[in-house]
Amino acid sequence: MEKKSEISIVLSGAAGQGIQAVEHILTRVAKDSGFHVFATKEYMSRVRGGNNSTEIRISSQPVKAYVDRIDILVPLNDNAIERLRPRITEETIILGEKKYVENEKNSIGILLEEIAESFGNKIYENSVAIGILAGIINADEDALVNNIKVYFSKKSEEVIKANVNAALKGYEIGKSLDLRFEITPSNEVKKQYLLNGSEAVAKGAIAGGCNFISSYPMSPATTVFTELSRLSKQYGILVDQAEDEIAAANMAIAAWYAGARAMVSTSGGGFALMTEAISLSGMIETPIVVHLGQRPGPATGLPTRTEQGDLNLVLYAGHGDFPRIIYAPGNLCEAYELSAKAFNMADKYQVPVFILTDQYFLDSFYNVDEMPQVKIEPYIVKTDENYKRYTLTEDGISPRGIPGYGNGLVRVDSDEHDEYGHITESAEVRRKMVEKRLKKMEKIIQDAVPPKLFGSENYKYLIVTWGSTQLIVKEALEKLGNKDVAMLHFSQVYPVPPIAESYLKKAQKVIFLEQNATGQFANLIKLTFDGVDTRRRILKYDGFPFSVEQVMEAISKEVE
């Protein structure tokens, strides 16, 4: 039997049983061994109990997407198998504590607790399990020992030593199982680091000059808030946990007014409360950057699951007409770059800018190289005595001053206003100001991030995606190997880049793939371009991400 160069391991158990510890250590052991790693988790909306699982893919080749396939399932309790039953095939090996797995067909039962106890305490069983998995993939022994030591570094010498020994015992067992996985290490991967979606957004924001965040905690967007708070001393970031999302959004806008680069991080329900502020941003031409981590609605929906159901919400949020920009990164590199760019564009055009992600994107990670270089482009001007905040200009952009910087006064008004920012009901001024604000759209479109084509230029079938599905569909297309099928991925969904029209019209058949129930982006394309057939839609709205296999199957049906 040929050895496999890739493995998909799934850990399943109750909240609080240590899945996160196993995931944390094992992925680092694999990366430090020079293996490509991808991991994603799905969890219930509860603090204890229930059933959660984490998928870890380890491979000789880059892996960056969720698959249904499970090579090794590790149940951490006696009911951890049932919920994953549909994904268990004859190939799946179920490996774990003997009493949990002995009734399964293709299982390897190990007395984890007993082995752990031989090192002094049964709580070392997770270290034994980590060791076994590290042995199965033939990971580097030093990488295993180091990562165990780092993880338990705050514990006593004795506990660290026991965990290391337990892991080494497991490592020995894992190797002896000879399960025929052979992952080729790469020195390059060893130098890389692991990053998840939340960190990519937060670090990108910092690279873009973010120095203010006001938010109200809400899954799955809290992690970006947490990351910026963790780094607040290092990067000089003002952090405010606001009393509600209404305050958070109004604060972020006022922070921009005073000279900060501010953002909020929220999810659909929280953003619904912020919509009045989005309209304020449009009127007073004072920016705001919104990170919206989507989860399934309506209302509370599925709080810990994933969806792309809030495009319409951000597209139409806020009363009145005014421009906006919406990004939807498809991979970690794009998340970093676009989060930084969001601040530059917000500053340049004085409009609300959105970064749309989702639970799957924020909670998934893989090994990455250095992030691209980004630059902070400042647009604040020093005011003089004759300064007018809303000077009418050819391109609609009025130089933006801040209070206390220069001799001028900065007066912004949520009422319709004249060039000084003074309240007015003049029909003529109103017309001019509406036109001025909308005029900015012309230049915003010139700065649009073009969609990216994956696959052959000579496609007949074009799969259209946006946001987090990029890497899932990319892998599916690579596995299908059909030269007639390509993917067009949008990391800027609004304004729709005009260049998209030619890509769409070149295809014999355009198929939209979206993680929502109505095809919100397909509808936007229909509104944007005449003559693009948007009827073919692959839609998923059960709260779980698309898998590579599901996408392969769905596309195969469309291209028969």
């Binding site: 001393k233 007014y257 501010a262 801040i402 949520s414 003074h422």
Partner: protein
């Protein structure tokens, strides 16, 4: 604030040709003069002052005062003011709105801004009625008062902002009456100079929609706190605040020992330069 004792001319805060939207006789005229006088006596440069307001007739105040202005949304003057102070603590930030905007639409912000204790001044024009929407009850309208919406009279108890602020241990709580020029000027000056959140609830007649709380009513139903009164005594303050048979004017409560919000934030631990000005050519 300058070292000489010469006050500025209050006229430097005038907006030339301002088209003022207040009714003749409105209490707001008193407050605008009191505010300008206080700013002038403190010798505050208009470029260093930011007036933040929500929506309503009181919230139009910044439209008529030559200083920086952030006229935001209904109820949201406080979150905006807190953020501005966080980003640039060098600025004098004054949040100014009416009783509906501050205590109704913005009630949650009122509570939590007091908890945060940023170094801002909060001037609330309290005319006990909704003016701009034409005469409905506000959170401070008296029980039983007939309005343009409550035809048989208001059937809920009024909100007591002073008692709430004292209960939340606000660092400076005062009440004034727009018709008392000297007192209001002094209280505004004290509030601006106070380090921390400072509330001044200014009783103010609405000559068009509130026929109960008139100039005369306020003169008859208010009294000045005596010099012997100790505003740092919280129990005494709470007693004064909850006694609504007659309304006390002056500094009702003070806690000068509360940490100031923005000073505790991470970026200011080592470097006191306002975040707004970092990286700018000064």
């Amino acid at each position: 604030m300058g070292s000489t004792n010469t006050a500025f001319d209050p006229k430097i805060y005038d907006i030339p040709d301002a088209d003022i939207a207040w009714c003749p006789g409105c209490g707001n005229f008193g407050i605008i003069n009191e505010l300008k006088t206080a700013l002038a006596q403190l010798q505050l440069d208009p470029t260093q002052v930011v007036l933040v307001s929500g929506i309503g007739q009181a919230a139009k105040m910044p439209q008529y005062v030559r200083a920086n202005m952030f006229n935001g949304l209904h109820g949201r003057s406080l979150p905006a003011a807190v953020a501005i102070k966080m980003v640039n603590p060098n600025l004098v930030v004054i949040a100014e709105s009416g009783d509906g905007c501050t205590y109704g639409e913005g009630g949650n912000h009122f509570i939590h801004t007091i908890r945060k204790n940023p170094d801002i001044t909060n001037i609330v024009h309290d005319n006990q009625i909704y003016g701009l929407t034409k005469g409905q009850a506000s959170p401070t309208t008296a029980r039983g008062q007939v309005t343009t919406l409550q035809f048989d009279g208001v059937i809920v108890d009024p909100f007591n902002p002073i008692a709430v602020a004292v209960a939340l241990d606000a660092s400076f709580v005062a009440r004034s009456f727009s018709g008392n020029f000297q007192l209001t000027v002094e209280l505004i000056k004290m509030a601006i100079k106070h380090k921390g959140y400072a509330l001044i609830d200014i009783l103010q007649p609405c000559v068009t929609f509130n026929k109960v709380n008139t100039y005369q009513w306020y003169r008859e139903n208010t009294y000045l706190l005596p010099d012997s009164y100790d505003p740092t005594d919280r129990q005494a303050a709470f007693k004064i605040a909850t006694d609504t048979s007659k309304l006390a004017l002056g500094v009702i409560y003070m806690n000068p020992n509360k940490p100031v919000y923005e000073e505790q934030l991470a970026p200011y631990q080592i470097d006191k330069t306002p975040v707004a000005l970092r990286g700018l050519e000064l």
